[in-house]
Amino acid sequence: MKLGPALKRLHESELDLAGDFRKIGERHAADHDVYHQSRTFSMQCERHAELLGPIADRYGSSVSEDDAPGLWDSVMEAVRRRSSAGLGRRPVSGVVLLRDLRELYLAAHETLIAWVIVRQGAMAVRDKELLELAKELQPETDLQMKWALTHIKVSSPQVLAS
């Protein structure tokens, strides 16, 4: 039974993605839509990880407790937000945003694939609880990925031709 490690992998992927959304959102606080939506997505990923925890336990792959943001994280958050104000006034901020959105798209895609694998496994072992969870949460990951793509499409012409 390899579903345990697959769940652990998905759990890690969600936590990584939560961190990516948070960090990248804060770096682009001057792009207000990116900032606010990234924060929402970051919390959404954390919720996914939280809901996956007990199921991973059930398959014997216990996942580490979700650490609350510590002092260091808060300090870094403030630094990123403050520097984003300076960055936001420079034309290069568009290039950085495009690069970061690309990273988010790829990271969300990786999480989505982890979901696909877990869902297939859940079908095979007939785990109704996990299937229900996948049915509810996987579309949210799919939207996160499509959101990044929507913004990439809007941002690239301005970055590349202006």
Binding site: A30, D31, H32, D33, H36, Q37, R39, T40, G88, R89, R90, P91, S93, G94, L143, K146, W147, T150, K153, V154, P157, Q158, V159, A161, S162
Partner: protein, 757 residues
């Protein structure tokens, strides 16, 4: 005629359902006119037909047109008194250019040469993506269409939007999401036939006074329709309501989901009609499932029994007419909430029949035309930027290469245009007939963007506004009454407004300014001929009629001759969707839609997968709290809005003595309980602070719901009488944030604190 300052709605003329709304002749003149000139009012989206009285080459008054279906002779206070701004002594009469840091008068040649020289160098050095246009909801079709062709087909920039983004973007977007295309389904005449009125976030007694008069005449008539009002404030309409839900601002989706859930639970659904004419019913039912009246009551801060009572009124309606405005459009989850109102009418099968309709209202008088002509982040003629055929139609009309017209993404919205200017990737910004230095959110940020040396700002306006003060070149423009053109109100009624007088000094119409700019810039079509081939207002209008031909907003049968001497004409007929067929065909629709909580743009493939085939789309959305909820530091919710006496940033109404006298300065409205807790009495000067700025003004303690603070947004700094400091405009406090689907800024959900000053 009674004093319209004391009684903005005038005398009652009650009438029964299905009978004619009686006429009432409203008029205000300062002396007897020598002649009357046909026009309509441009001080709100109602578009009341009127005649302009002229004597000695000056406007001397107005009178309502009794034959017109919109107003039956009535005018509101802004219409009766606002025209005096045209005669104001501080009109701009000559162009201004900035020299050594100060604006100085100059001639047109010098001013236009400066504008063209900078535009040319920006286009040569960077390209069309560095050029932006930010227009308004107060020009005529002839001005807008000239700008749309100039900017999208000539310069080839995607950055054209209007301040209509702040007033009407969600109306348009919600119609696109639900029906596949913009276009007001209902008509004001539905008020004469309805048995139930549903107001969601619309303070119509102050925003569209004449249409409120029509409702009052039904409400005080023999077979009074029932009225449900959702609004945090104790508005005039709330006082007349059978059920008033005074929700916390920002929670519209929660209360609307609960109402939909009640309709479903009680079987108040026209299931056969829904099955035949909509898609998405199951998804909607699933989404609203958690929103019991108790749960929604908790979120919204209202008694669950009142939600049930409201649902019962809506559920037992036989002819339901719904109205929506800024309490939805400028609030948290704007498009998602507006779509839920569409859903309620669809679930009840109440659309396209007398008395059954939806009016997703507009704010500004000609906002409808910004949307139609392609100046509000849309493509002309409700065309779809993702539809290659539609782009080719425009290219054929304008005789340009399809690739010349940017369609690599949705037309850039206003907030993004200002973001590009902030970032430095837009370096030429032309602002037309609007005042972002007072009307956009977070004014400290806006001022700092407009004041940048690297940004060249052109402002066209009739007065030197707060925005004009920050410009590099200011161009004096003709106002309504000083130029001929057409415009369309919120129920699709098109009016002709004839030139009554000459503009003051050297002021010119916006159309003439754009034509001059295009000539000087040498904009050409693909055969090397001038891009703009028309000159007179009627020629531009005829070009627009061709552009709109075959599209849902088809003007091809509406000519100047048809409009002249008669009353207004509605495009699309009195009501849209009379057969329950909707413009959702993928080849015909204006938009493939969005996911409402994230703004993810759907592709043609995704849209086709819905298999809508002429049906409407029931789009669901869960409630999501605003990103800035009240907390310890800022415990109250800010709500901004209008007073009946002013329009926008008071550029015109502040120069009409009666209107200015009625509401000369800003105030802060507080709930009784909050005022008591803060030790504030009526009239005390208070300070309101958000993380972004502060406003000071006298307190008005009212029956508003607890936890909400209201400030009118009209007041800026041009008539400050020497007082310094940026502490008068409500938008010092508002947050830079917009709806993910309509991109409309959120003015009505920010956290603030209040104390005695």
């Amino acid at each position: 005629m009674s004093d319209r300052i004391d009684n903005p709605w005038g005398e009652r003329t009650p009438f029964a359902a299905d009978s004619d709304w009686p006429n009432r002749a409203d008029q205000h003149v300062e002396r007897e006119p020598e002649r009357w000139v046909q026009s309509a009012c441009v001080l709100c989206s109602n578009g009341c037909a009127l005649d302009i009285g002229v004597a000695d080459g000056r406007i001397v008054g107005v009178r309502g047109q009794e034959a017109d279906p919109v107003n039956h002779g009535r005018l509101g206070p802004k219409g009766l008194y606002g025209w005096q701004a045209n005669n104001s002594a501080d009109r701009l009469t000559r162009p201004l250019v900035r020299r050594n840091g100060a604006l100085e008068e100059t001639d047109w040649d010098t001013a236009m040469a400066a504008v063209v020289e900078r535009a040319r160098s920006v286009l040569d050095d960077t390209g069309p993506g560095a050029v932006g246009f930010y227009t308004t909801g107060q020009l005529f079709i002839e001005d807008y269409y000239t700008l749309a062709v100039l900017a999208r087909g000539g310069i080839g920039t995607n950055h054209v939007d209007g301040n209509t983004r702040l007033c009407t973007a969600t109306a348009g977007q919600s119609l696109k999401e639900t029906f596949g295309c913009d276009g007001q389904p209902g008509t004001f005449a539905d008020i004469d036939h309805c048995d139930t009125l549903f107001h969601v976030g619309i303070n119509i007694a102050e925003t569209q006074t004449v249409t409120w008069s029509r409702m009052l005449d039904r409400l005080h008539g023999p077979d009074r329709p029932r009225l449900v009002v959702i609004d945090p404030r104790p508005t005039q309409a709330a006082r007349e309501a059978d059920v008033h839900l005074a929700i916390r601002n920002g929670t519209n989706v929660a209360v609307l989901n609960a109402l939909i859930r009640e309709l479903v639970e009680n079987g108040w659904i026209e299931q056969q009609w829904v099955d035949a004419h909509t898609v998405g019913f199951e998804g909607l039912v699933k989404t609203v499932q958690p929103y019991t009246p108790e749960h929604a009551g908790e979120i919204c801060g209202v008694d669950p029994s009142r939600i049930r009572a409201a649902a019962e009124v809506l559920g037992s309606a036989e002819r339901l007419l719904s109205f929506v405005l800024q309490g939805v459009y400028q609030s948290n989850q704007a498009t998602a909430a507006a779509c839920q109102v569409n859903n309620i009418n669809l679930l009840r099968g109440m659309i396209g029949r007398p008395g059954c309709g939806i009016l997703q209202m507009n704010g500004q008088p000609t906002a409808q035309n910004t949307r139609e002509t392609g100046c509000n982040g849309d493509f002309p003629g409700f065309r779809n930027w993702q539809n290659e055929q539609h782009v080719q139609e425009l290219a054929r009309l304008w005789n340009v290469d399809p690739l010349q017209i940017p369609h690599y993404g949705p037309p850039t919205h206003a907030m993004q245009i200002f973001r590009y200017a902030e970032q430095g990737s837009i370096s030429f910004l032309w602002i037309i007939g609007t005042n972002p230095a007072v009307s956009l959110p977070e004014l400290d940020r806006i001022r700092s963007i407009l004041a940048q040396d690297r940004l060249f700002v052109v402002v066209s306006d009739a007065f030197l506004t707060e925005t004009g003060e920050l410009a590099d070149v200011v161009l004096p423009t003709a106002l309504w009454g000083e130029k001929t053109g057409t415009f369309t109100n919120a129920d699709r009624t098109v009016h002709l407004s004839e030139q009554a007088v000459e503009p003051p000094g050297e002021a010119r119409s916006d159309r003439e300014i754009f034509l001059d700019f295009a000539d000087r810039l040498g904009l050409e079509d693909k055969d090397g001929q001038p891009l703009l081939k028309w000159r007179t207002p009627e020629e531009v209008f005829n070009a627009w009629r061709e552009c709109s031909r075959g599209r849902p907003c088809d003007y091809s049968q509406i000519s100047y001759d048809a409009l002249r001497g008669g009353s207004g004409i509605q495009w699309g007929g009195e009501r849209l969707y009379t057969e329950g067929e909707f413009p959702t065909d993928p080849a015909y629709c204006e938009d493939f839609g969005h996911e409402l909580t994230t703004g993810v743009t759907f592709s043609e493939v995704e849209f086709k997968a819905l298999n809508v085939a002429g049906r409407a789309i029931l789009k669901p959305a869960p409630y999501i709290p605003s990103p800035e909820e009240p907390g310890d530091d800022y415990p109250l919710r800010l709500n901004t809005g209008r007073t009946v006496y002013h329009f926008h940033t008071r550029t015109k109404t502040g120069r009409a003595p009666q209107l200015q006298g009625a509401a000369p300065d800003v105030w802060v409205e507080l709930a009784q309980a909050d005022a008591e807790r803060l030790g504030i009495s009526d009239g005390d000067v208070v300070r309101v602070e958000s993380p972004r700025g502060r406003v000071e003004g006298p307190a008005r303690v009212t029956g508003m719901r607890e936890g909400v603070v209201f400030i009118p947004f009209h007041y800026g700094y041009w008539d400050r009488d020497g007082r310094n400091g940026h502490d008068r405009a409500a938008n010092e406090l508002t947050i830079t944030l917009w709806d993910p689907a309509s991109k409309q800024p959120i003015y009505k959900t920010a956290a603030v604190r209040v104390e005695r000053a």
